[in-house]
Amino acid sequence: MRGVRAVVILAFLSTFLSSIVAAELAEQITIPTTDTFDVFHNLESREFVQRGEIRVLQNETALYQTIAAKDSSKLVGVGEQALSADQYYTVVLRSQNSGAQYALAARRCRLNGEKKVDETFVLHETDSGVFRVDYDAGKGSNCLKGSLDDVPTFVTKALIKRRVQGPTPQLAVAASIDASTGKEKVPEPEKGFLAKYWYYLVPLVLLLLLGGEESQQEGNSRR
């Protein structure tokens, strides 16, 4: 009985979680895209085949979507530099908006000995769109392993890095912080006369009250 109950609970939880993920994805899909990049991998010598696309969303996130081999297109006319580097594994991103191509490379040995390789695209954007893409795949420690026999499966992640507004001095904040204590300054209420000058008045009063009698007593005793 307990086993059945656990299975039911698990099934319920998984359904619930998948529905949340699906809802999240659906929400993301409805967010308008600012640009879409076709991702071409260098699967064969001098040939780039599309394996996915990156959708840059307006909320400063990106979605990567794999494209099945049968639907993929091939890329020709990639610069010699991207193809000639034997030591690098090269990927090309092509903007669907502008047609701009980014030839991105990672050291080939970083893919050695791995069947599944993490790859990351970092798309840097300004108000006018993506201006630079950085790429990373594999691990540096793989360079100590054997050679790359076959192109591995990639687990792709796409990040958006937006150019930030540089900081500026916060002049308004300054007035509200006390430099000596570091605490926010609270405007002090205006003090009354006694509250302001009590430390002058108290000794004066004490002097008048106590000082006069002593001298009189001294005078009397002398007499």
Binding site: R132, G140, G166, T168
Partner: protein
């Protein structure tokens, strides 16, 4: 009894220990302003000197320099009487002196005319002309009017007559862009404006254009062209003038042997002059075709009577120069040879308009000075005959400051003085009969382009010196060196009573040569190079490379020159770009420290020279490499044979290559044996839109064996960083020198750690945006990855308001000018200079760091960047940070301010995590200062205290052997050196510490122990028997 022995030993050890401190704490007091620092005010290499003796027989030496300074020098000592430093964007074009007034013309399209009091340097009055669209490049001139304080000037595209305190010109004449006017000749009622005429389709040849203007009305009387194929400044023409004779243009047409003389304002007649008449000997046509003319006087308008100029020609392979004087015989013009010299290696100059002291104020000296420039300097002055009136000679080595390039004659009282200038930047005054300069100024350091510190070997004891001379093998053993040290200590202990127990004369004077700032007291050539440092690393050699070809080594402690060396290629100074210490001498080993200098020839070819860093001796030849526009940097390997550190010399261009120095097979093999390929970047120059990364490729072994100077490694481009469209590079900054980090992270108030992101390959780029503002990019130079980008939309940068940046550890600090304005989605911007701090961490979460054990640029790890901004108190001209040995001491951030201050602000002030609201308990526990929007200009933090250090362009810092203290050097125009202790002098004795008290207390304790010991023993014995 055993106890008594041990007490005695302890007492002796205490005394010895105390005595060992007796010389160890000199000059370390924190408040020794003026004693721990030194300052040198400079003016730069003069481009024009006017020495003018007034009617009251006082002489003014006024100079305008390549560093855009107008200065007055004292004729007796060469000290700066006053100086005015012009804005770098406002180039001084001309200097004229009349009576007690000096006149300058500066600027270009936006021109400025200023009249100064020559005695005090105070501005009498000035006039500025706004930029003119029809301004012709290099146009501009100014002259005083005769017998008047009015000034005539070409400003922008106008000729103006100005009277003192002008709100507007007396009259203004539009020149309509007809020529680039560079010369004014003023006469009684008219003036002539002379310029290079604008070439047109109808008149495509260069020619001079002359406008005659009425001084009273400003109306054009006539204008005409003269001198076909001529342009002002060429050696085939000269403009001469005098008060009595008027103005003339003398020129020789191309491929013509006849000299034409044109009197300004007269269309006819035009005289022809033949060489034979002048030189009084027959010349071959080829000799006449190569003859040249030159102006003799720095300020011809001072000349009262006959105009003069020089003619230089070659006869029988000998170069001769004659001084020609114009005379009028009735209506006929005559040119007369005054005197002639062999001028293969001599320069000739006139006296200006000095009043002849012996004959009263009514006459002027017409002396000419000829200075021999090869070998020892000898000079002679001539009046109106071939017999020299005065002469002098002194021994001078051109390898120190280069050959003499200019001379000026002036009078100090009744004695003539010759002011010489060398191509290296030496200015010296010579007197008749003296075998040494009366005074000199080393102005080469005002043109310093790079500087490095050389650690000097610690002073060896006399016992070590003796052992080194007799049997150096003794020094190989640490034990024997230790014994020698004790022997030395014992000797100094024996001498201690004789020195009055250190009570008198304890502050030993710095025995370095020429420590006085008075140039009159220094020796021109330092006799004893500084070869030994001190125990605490305060005394180092600061070695400068300059654009004038001089490499100079100065004591970092006193500023005394240790050596200078002038580098030239085919007679032209090598413009030095970088200086590297390529080998450091090992203690007690016989290997010299080496200095490698990288520069450029006049043709732009890379030049490499190696010098002995301690003595300045040039080792081998100056090597001119077949590469242009190289970027020099240190490589992480050495040549095995010489232990010299390799330098990379990356050539720019479409196919960059990487040359190395030393260019030997051993060095090439060492380069290829590096475990990782060498990456470098190119294109980080202003105006570029792309930064490119390259890696060097090693060739086959056979090619390495045949490595030579012209060899270079091929490169392959590994990445390209394109700036966004509409942006061009403004400035680039990178780490300079090895970086030391004591702490890998920041310990927060809750005892968690925020790990620093330290990337030694970080390059900071600043770009100028067409849309306005400045873009900031942090780029990894190995992988080309963009690590961070930001935009300051209302920021701007120009020559007047430059963008500055400095990097240290995980922090980038930059400064720029910001206009006020609003930015969408961000705080409104305030107008002023803004200092931004960006600090990089491995993660935004504490206790989280990169998994990899070693940093690799190829691993994608983007830093978490925290930024903040402050209003800067004043515009800065340079930024820097302090460095200490282990960097346990916090770093101070150093600002060279335009007001001439060197400001040091504490590291904590630049923490971008300073809370902007009431600090939390953790923030208080961490000791974070609350945020204040402006950086303070605290007078107590001004390292330069009362010294006004103008033109600070570079700030460098070097560690000392004391962790608390770092040396700070600032240079640019003036030099200022000091040392500072950002975290306090925690490893030094305080100034109030009394060594005498220590010794007395120790002795008292010892005596107390000696007296009390028997008493205690006796008491114990009594107790035992009780």
């Amino acid at each position: 009894m055993l106890g008594g022995h041990s007490l005695t030993r302890a007492a002796l050890a205490a005394v010895l220990a105390a005595s060992s401190f007796s010389t160890a704490v000199q000059g370390l007091f924190p408040d020794e302003a003026g004693r721990i620092d030194w300052y040198r005010a400079q003016i730069g290499v003069p481009k024009s000197i006017v020495a003018h003796t007034q009617e009251d027989r006082t002489t003014n030496i006024l100079a305008i320099t390549d560093r855009n300074v107008l200065a007055s020098l004292k004729p007796d000592s060469g000290e700066i009487a006053w100086r005015q430093i012009f804005d770098p964007t406002e180039r001084i074009n001309a200097l004229k002196v009349r009576g007690s007034l000096a006149l300058t013309h500066s600027g270009g399209s936006e021109a400025h005319v200023r009249v100064w009091d020559a005695q005090s340097g105070a501005l009498a009055w000035g006039f500025s002309q706004p930029p003119s669209p029809s301004y012709k490049a290099n146009s501009g001139a100014a002259e005083f009017l005769r017998k008047s304080q009015d000034v005539l000037a070409v400003v922008g595209d106008s000729l103006v007559r100005l009277s003192p305190n002008p709100s507007k010109p007396v009259w203004e004449l539009a020149l309509n862009g007809t020529a680039s006017y560079k010369r004014l000749v003023v006469q009684e009622s008219v003036a002539f404006v002379i310029g290079d005429a604008v070439r047109t389709k109808r008149q495509p040849k260069p020619r001079l254009h002359v406008i005659e203007v009425s001084l009273k009305t400003g109306l054009v009387k006539q204008q005409y062209d003269v001198g076909t194929e001529q342009a002002l400044g060429r050696s085939s023409n000269v403009v001469v003038e005098s008060n009595e004779y008027g103005g003339y243009i003398v020129w020789r047409d191309d491929k013509n042997i006849v000299w034409n003389v044109h009197r300004l304002g007269m269309q006819e007649p035009m005289w022809d002059i033949y060489h034979a008449k002048l030189v009084q000997s027959e010349l071959m046509p080829v000799d006449m075709l190569t003859s040249t003319l030159g102006e003799l006087d720095a300020d011809p308008g001072l000349i009262a009577d006959k105009p003069r100029f020089t003619l230089t020609y070659t006869k029988d392979t000998k170069v001769k120069t004659i001084v020609i004087e114009m005379t009028h015989a009735k209506d006929k013009l005559e040119l007369r040879k005054v005197v002639g010299f062999r001028s293969d290696s001599a320069i000739v100059a006139g006296s200006g308009g000095a009043t002849l002291p012996s004959s009263g104020a009514s006459q002027t000296e017409r002396a000419v000075v000829a200075v021999r420039t090869s070998g020892d300097i000898s000079w002679r002055t001539y009046a109106n005959s071939k017999t020299p009136t005065h002469s002098g000679e002194f021994a001078y080595d051109t390898a120190t400051y280069g050959p003499v390039t200019a001379a000026t004659l002036y009078y100090a009282g009744s004695e003539p003085r010759v002011l010489i200038q060398t191509s290296g930047g030496l200015v010296a005054a010579l007197a008749p009969g003296s075998n040494a300069p009366v005074w000199f100024r080393d102005e080469s350091l005002a043109h310093a382009t790079d500087m490095t510190f050389l650690e000097l070997p610690a002073p060896a004891s006399s016992a070590e010196h003796a052992a080194k001379a007799t049997d150096p093998s003794i020094l190989a053993s640490p034990m024997s060196r230790y014994v020698l040290r004790w022997v030395e200590t014992a000797k100094s202990l024996a001498a201690w009573p004789a020195s009055g127990f250190g009570l008198f004369g304890g502050a030993s004077s710095d025995a370095e040569p020429g420590s006085s700032s008075q140039s009159t007291l220094e020796a021109l050539v330092p006799t004893t190079p500084l070869t030994e440092g001190d125990h605490f690393g305060f005394r180092k050699l600061s070695i400068f490379g300059t654009s004038t070809g001089v490499v100079a080594a100065l004591s970092s402690q006193s500023g005394a020159r240790s050596w200078t060396h002038y580098l030239a290629d085919n007679g032209t100074a090598v413009a030095i770009d970088r200086v590297f210490i390529s080998r450091r001498s090992q203690p007690l080993a016989n290997t010299a420290s080496l200095l490698t200098v990288v520069g450029r020839t006049g043709h732009g070819n890379a030049v490499v020279a190696t010098l002995d860093a301690l003595t300045g001796e040039l080792l081998g030849d100056i090597h001119v490499l077949p590469f242009k526009k190289v970027k020099a940097f240190e490589l992480p390997t050495t040549e095995s044979a010489t232990e010299q550190q390799l330098l990379g010399l990356a050539t720019t261009g479409s196919e960059p290559r990487l040359a190395i120095w030393p260019a030997t097979a051993d060095a090439a093999k060492a380069f290829c044996a590096l475990p990782e390929p060498v990456f470098f970047d190119l294109g980080a120059s202003s105006g570029s839109s792309q930064l490119r990364g390259y890696r060097a490729e090693c060739p086959a072994e056979a090619e390495l064996d045949a490595w030579k100077e012209s060899s270079a490694f091929s490169t392959s481009r590994s990445w390209t960083f394109d700036l966004p469209k509409g942006e061009v590079l403004l400035a680039a900054s990178e780490y300079r020198g090895a970086q030391t980090t004591a702490l890998l992270g920041r310990v927060l108030g809750d005892r968690s750690v925020l790990y620093k992101y330290i990337n030694p390959h970080l390059v900071t780029l600043a770009s100028r945006r067409d849309a306005g503002g400045i873009g900031i990019y942090f780029v990894d130079r190995v992988s080309g990855r963009l690590l961070y980008s930001a935009v300051h939309e209302t920021a701007s940068a120009s020559d007047k308001q430059p963008f500055l940046a400095t990097q240290s550890e995980n922090r980038v600090i930059y400064q720029f000018w910001q206009e006020s304005g609003s930015v969408e989605g961000a705080q409104p911007r305030s107008k002023g200079y803004v200092t931004v701090v960006a600090e990089m961490f491995e993660s935004d979460k504490p206790d989280t760091r990169d998994e990899s054990k070693a940093f690799s640029s190829f691993d994608l790890s983007l830093p978490h960047v925290i930024t903040t901004a402050f209003m800067a108190p004043e515009p800065a001209t340079a930024l820097g940070v302090t460095r200490t040995g282990s960097q346990i001491t916090t770093r101070d951030v150093l600002f060279g301010l335009s007001s001439g201050k060197l400001l040091s602000l504490p590291d904590q002030m630049f923490d971008p995590r300073r809370p902007k609201k009431a600090p939390t308990k953790d923030e208080q526990a961490e000791g974070l200062m609350p945020y204040m929007p402006s950086l303070p200009l605290d007078p107590k933090r001004v390292l330069s205290h009362g010294n006004v250090v103008f033109g600070i362009a570079h700030i460098k810092s070097a560690p000392t052997h004391l962790e608390s203290t770092s040396l700070v050097a600032s240079y640019g125009l003036d030099l200022f050196f000091t040392h500072t202790s950002p975290s306090g002098t925690f490893d030094q004795l305080s100034p109030s510490f009394s060594k005498v008290n220590l010794v007395v207390t120790t002795l008292a304790l010892v005596i107390g122990c000696l007296l009390g010991g028997p008493m205690v023993r006796r008491k114990l014995t009594n107790q035992a028997w009780a």
